[in-house]
């Protein structure tokens, strides 16, 4: 072997040695996270409880109707007293923008708060693993022992119980989701009497299977390999972002603690690996910031309990910024951080837009379309006639009776609408209207005419629309 080949082989062996630390969790080993109580565990339960709204919200009634209802067949969104129609969809865009930027803002300040405490994947997985560890044991050893135990009635009934509970939660999730889009009480009735619509069954099926598979089996794999947010979190962090982090300066060199002996040459970390054991995604926080970390703080609880037991100060693993860990500096004040300022600005804009939308939500929408084919017609007596399509949308909850009129054009008369029009809630009634102006009364080939729609039953509602009137040059 030549010298060159030998050195090449050496280099490659270096690479192989370097990657001997590789740990790619692709789901081969099931993560069985130990559950410990502590501050962050309480916080996590609290965050998770927000999802009770998802389960209970559809049953809220308001004025005899479902309080919050995404009524897709009727193309409207009912929110307590407010009804939002597709015409106001821009408010939804702003709301989505608000939450997207809120996510970015929170991430830049305190890391993946959403991932750790609110994300449905985290929450449902946590509930599912809670059930699993109660039934099969809360350490990998106990879980393995249970798995390898010979089949017995007790084992089979326990496994059945676990999957039964999982499926029950999954089914409830599916029903709850569907309940936001149709009357919740009627939906339960329809499901039990097997009369639900095909769409309702498909939604129930997809959500049941999805919940069961994602929370029961895929778990942290979703965070690792499916979730885009986990991948792009890095761009939202800066050196002032606080995250659960291991204080390597204080902890290293790590080593086992010998009873009664304080070894001055060693750091605070006693290498007990409890931080790894409690991690729901199975990572080792001591290796530094990594994609698998959902910043749930379970390792902080775990480490603090060990620090207490070994009479060392808490906070070997703690919420800390890069500046804190590496430069011993406190994070910059929020108002001095460009990201926070920009995100806050966008948040305010989006919020005020939605606020404006709600404040000025109209009860009707009135539109007049001037027909272009032909733009005008001369009648036998020489008068000029233009044709229009009048569209009135009723955004109130009751029928309205509409009376149309025109103004702003001398000599013009309205024809083609010989009686008032009744418009049902949420409906648009298009009407053909003719405007005539006698021969010689038209001064220009383009004039303006204002259409007025008065609601007879409610004098407060009167809307106008300015359109054009065209004639010969």
């Amino acid at each position: 072997m030549s010298e060159q080949a030998k050195s090449a082989e050496l280099n490659i062996n270096d690479i192989y040695d370097e990657v001997s630390d590789w740990h790619v969790n692709a789901g081969g080993t099931k993560v069985v996270a130990k559950r410990m109580s502590g501050r962050f565990r309480r916080l996590k339960w609290f965050g998770m409880s927000v999802w009770l709204i998802f389960f209970l919200g559809p049953y809220l009634r308001w004025n005899g109707q479902q309080a919050v209802l995404f009524d897709i067949p009727n193309r409207q969104f009912n929110f307590f007293d407010i009804t939002i129609f597709p015409q106001d969809i821009w408010m939804l865009s702003l709301t989505l923008l608000f939450f997207a930027i809120l996510l970015a803002a929170v991430t830049s300040i305190a890391g993946r708060v959403f991932c750790g405490y609110f994300c449905f994947q985290t929450v449902w997985t946590d509930v599912f693993t809670f059930i699993e560890t109660r039934i099969e044991g809360d350490t990998p050893q106990k879980a393995m022992k249970f798995k390898n135990a010979p089949a017995s009635i007790s084992k089979i009934s326990r496994i059945t119980l676990k999957h039964g509970l999982w499926l029950a939660i999954a089914l409830l999730t599916g029903v709850s989701f569907a309940a936001w889009f149709t009357d919740a009480y009627q939906l339960w009735h329809d499901y039990f009497t097997l009369q639900a619509s095909l769409v309702a069954w498909i939604v129930l099926g997809m959500f049941t299977v999805g919940t069961y598979v994602f929370a029961g089996f895929m778990r942290e794999q979703v965070c690792f390999w499916l979730c885009p947010y986990a991948r792009l979190q890095g761009v939202m962090y800066d050196q002032d972002t606080v995250l659960p982090a291991y204080d390597a300066e204080r902890g290293e060199p790590r080593g086992k603690l010998k009873k009664g002996a304080v070894d001055a040459t060693k750091g605070s970390c006693i290498d007990c690996k409890v931080c790894v054991a409690v991690c729901p995604t199975g990572i080792d926080i001591r290796k530094g910031q990594q994609e698998g970390c959902i910043t749930c703080g379970m390792c902080i609880d775990a480490c603090d309990s060990i620090m207490d037991k070994t009479n060392q100060p808490r906070g070997l693993i703690r919420y800390a910024s890069y500046k804190d860990l590496h430069h011993n500096a406190q994070p910059a004040a929020l108002y001095k951080r460009p990201r926070v300022i920009i995100y806050s600005f966008i948040l305010m804009m989006a919020l005020s837009g939605v606020g404006y939308g709600f404040a000025t939500l109209s009860t009707t929408e009135f539109q007049v379309i001037h027909n272009r084919q032909p733009v005008f017609v001369q009648l036998s007596d020489g008068s000029i006639q233009n044709r229009y399509t009048l569209k009135m949308l009723n955004k109130t909850n009751e029928n309205i009776e509409v009376e149309y009129a025109i103004s702003g054009l001398d000599g013009a008369t309205l024809h083609g609408i010989d009686h008032n029009v009744i418009i049902e809630p949420g409906k648009v009634i298009p009407l053909q209207a003719l405007v005539r102006i006698p021969d010689g009364m038209l001064n220009k080939d383009l004039e303006h005419v204002t259409f007025i729609a008065n609601v007879v039953s409610n004098p407060d509602i009167s809307v106008q629309y300015e359109s054009i009137f065209m004639g010969p040059k």
């Binding site: 790619v24 789901g27 081969g28 080993t29 084919q373 001369q378 036998s380």
Partner: protein, 310 residues
């Protein structure tokens, strides 16, 4: 899979090696393998259920018997089903009654848009306004050769129309033609002189266009006393109409104006009903029905609301 993805130093290899880089025998993740086999299965299921393999003549049909055209026809049938109650009511009511029913009127107008586009717009233009100078009647104004009530429009659609004005090139002198052109222009503005009226009456125009020059709807003759021009208001064009007439078979330069019959059977029936006769006696068996009776009813309502229905 964490345990399968062994440290390269420990993992067996296939024996393939390029420049010191070994090909390891780590299996792909289990879920990936399962997904691969499942997609294969999916293809198999698809081939069994749906038309797939091309054969020498035709193709495998699949056990579902699905075809695109079948799906299209099913969708069409669904629409027909939705329309059926409206169509039934349209068939049961007269056109005048439909005009009084807001909902049915909206349905008739909405569903006629395509019918109008397919059958009428080629000549009469979208919105009832033909290309200027094309010589087709405007439907969006209130000037009707044969009457502008819905029932008259139905009659026009059913039996078609072909008016006739004889060519006058051989019958009139140049001066007389000039005088009549002047008359037509002035009468449109209500300013025809007594001499011009005299000429109009003496030359026989009055026979068809009426004593007041407003036309006679039974004949379909044009109204010469209003602002709407049947062909054109330009003096040269008026002269052409007088000289060569309309639909005069003996004059090659004559203006051609023919509205085809869209439902002869209906036309025969309407005529029989008018005289209180039994239509069965009148049918000859070769009556064409280019549009159904309901379609004609809906179209006449559509035309009626274009701007000048009576």
């Amino acid at each position: 899979m964490a345990d399968n993805n062994k440290n390269p130093n420990e993992c067996p290899d296939t024996g393939h090696e390029w420049d010191g880089i070994r090909e390891l025998t780590n299996p792909p993740p289990r879920w990936w393998t399962i997904a691969l086999y499942l997609s294969g299965l999916l293809v198999l299921v698809y081939f069994i259920l749906y038309p797939s393999l091309p054969l020498v003549t035709g193709n495998t049909k699949g056990i579902l018997g699905w075809t695109q055209i079948k799906e299209y026809k099913e969708d069409l049938a669904k629409i027909e089903e939705k329309r059926a109650p409206f169509e039934d009511r349209i068939a049961a009511l007269s056109a005048e009654e439909i005009l009084e029913d807001d909902e049915l009127l909206r349905y008739a107008v909405g569903s006629s848009k395509v019918l109008y586009g397919d059958n009428c717009a080629a000549c009469h233009g979208v919105g009832g306004y033909p290309q200027p100078g094309s010589g087709y009647p405007i439907l969006a104004d209130d000037d009707w050769l044969y009457g502008g009530t819905v029932d008259k429009i139905i009659e026009t659609l059913a039996k078609g129309r072909q008016g006739m004005m004889p060519a006058h090139a051989e019958l009139l002198t140049d001066e007389e033609v000039d005088g009549l052109v002047e008359f037509v222009i002035n009468s449109s503005n209500g300013e025809a002189t007594e001499a011009e009226w005299k000429l109009y009456n003496e030359k026989g125009c009055v026979a068809c266009h009426g004593a007041d020059a407003k036309g006679i709807q039974q004949l379909g003759s044009a109204n010469l006393a209003d602002k709407v021009w049947r062909f054109s208001g330009e003096p040269d064009e008026i002269r052409h109409t007088i000289l060569h007439g309309v639909n005069d078979a003996n004059d090659p330069q004559t203006r051609v104006a023919v509205m085809p019959a869209w439902n002869e059977k209906l036309a025969v029936r309407l005529e029989a009903e008018e005289y209180g006769d039994d239509p069965e006696e009148y049918y000859e068996g070769d009556e064409t029905e280019r549009l159904t009776e309901n379609e004609i009813k809906k179209l006449s309502i559509y035309v009626h609301q274009l701007g000048g229905g009576e």
